[in-house]
Symmetry: C2
DNA sequence: CAGTAATTTCAGTAATTACTGAAACTACAG
DNA sequence: CTGTAGTTTCAGTAATTACTGAAATTACTG
């Protein structure tokens, strides 16, 4: 891990440590951080040199990052190596993260819950359990729909929402007007 | 893991498996699932019997769940044992989860980023890196503020927001009116 | 098509994380 | 106090996950 600026160094190490909390491992976190702050795309060898990781580890980690759509593969003219970079708009990145996390952390459970709710409950204990699953399922569906719609918003609408987003409570002062909109989709 | 209803059984095992994706381990996930569907609070011994776990493992896992504020300790009259239950409102649970995850997954990084941004950048590469950190920091602050405000909402406002939440795009059709509100906090 | 640069796979190993049983602790009851 | 029911701690071990180097594969180049 040679000749990296101390600030960048600290950032990379931090991402490595946070990796486990974020459901990726240290290496994946470090590589992502390195690419994120790099001015230009890097190839696998450059990454393995700068972070002191084996070439094969870098290869596997880059695949993982690609499966999250958090890095993009690029080619430079006249160079056969694969180069990698992160998308440069942070908002893009955040949305990708939201989508992938929903896919991995919510969808499987939602599938299971829906299945369970198709079954007949006989005993009282079963009925109680099913009611609880039902509640969880309903909430998870709402959250899932919410994120779906968020992902469909135009960039400008999204920015608007985020910018005044911390004034959500004020927005709700308008709930009389808003309630009308809500009712159109009867729920 | 004796005499559990197959549906409940499947739910518990699923939570165990998802645990690692959610940043908790199998045991913690299973215990949470068991408590969530249980009609009455359970004590540590009941949990360890029903899930086939050692008593000590249950003790540690319950502490972990308490640190997430996902289970509550209770006492039954005339019984010295500690009993545990999950809060029964799923919305409560979701908000707790949001808050705890922000605390664990976002706050440490936000702290680091803010620190880094206090430093002087000299070289061009440093300046580029700092600009990227700056962008990430700004977005994370917005997300953090968003969730803060969400947590402050009254129960009824929250339900309203969630209920018509999947009509967010429509809400933004009203952005002319809303923009006025946004400007009051000039940003 | 032979040679080479680049990447991927994978079996073995290292590092980390989870779990257990035994011992220590806590708090109450007689 | 002493005994007992309940809980927690912790050192040792099991299980899982991460990482490596060597070999295999891919895809160009001359």
């Amino acid at each position: 891990m040679n000749t990296l600026d101390p600030m960048v160094q600290a950032f990379i190490l931090h991402f490595g440590e946070m990796g486990s909390r974020w459901g990726i491992n240290r290496t994946v976190g470090q590589i992502y951080a390195l690419l994120y702050v790099s001015e230009d795309p890097l190839n696998a060898e450059q990454i393995s040199e700068r972070l002191g990781l084996s070439r094969s580890n870098v290869s596997m980690s880059l695949k993982e990052l690609q499966s999250w759509r958090l890095v993009q593969l690029q080619h430079l003219p006249g160079d056969r190596k694969d180069y990698f970079a992160t998308p440069d708009d942070v908002l893009d990145i955040a949305l990708t993260l939201l989508e992938e996390r929903r896919k991995r952390e919510l969808d499987p459970t939602l599938t299971l819950l829906r299945q369970s709710l198709l079954e007949e409950a006989s005993t009282g204990e079963q009925k109680h359990a099913q009611k609880k699953l039902q509640e969880m399922c309903a909430l998870m569906e709402q959250v899932s729909d919410w994120s779906d719609d968020l992902l469909k918003l135009s960039r400008s609408d999204l920015e608007l929402l985020l910018r005044f987003g911390n004034k959500v409570p004020r927005l709700l002062e308008m709930k009389d007007k808003i309630a009308v909109l809500g009712k159109k989709k009867g729920n």
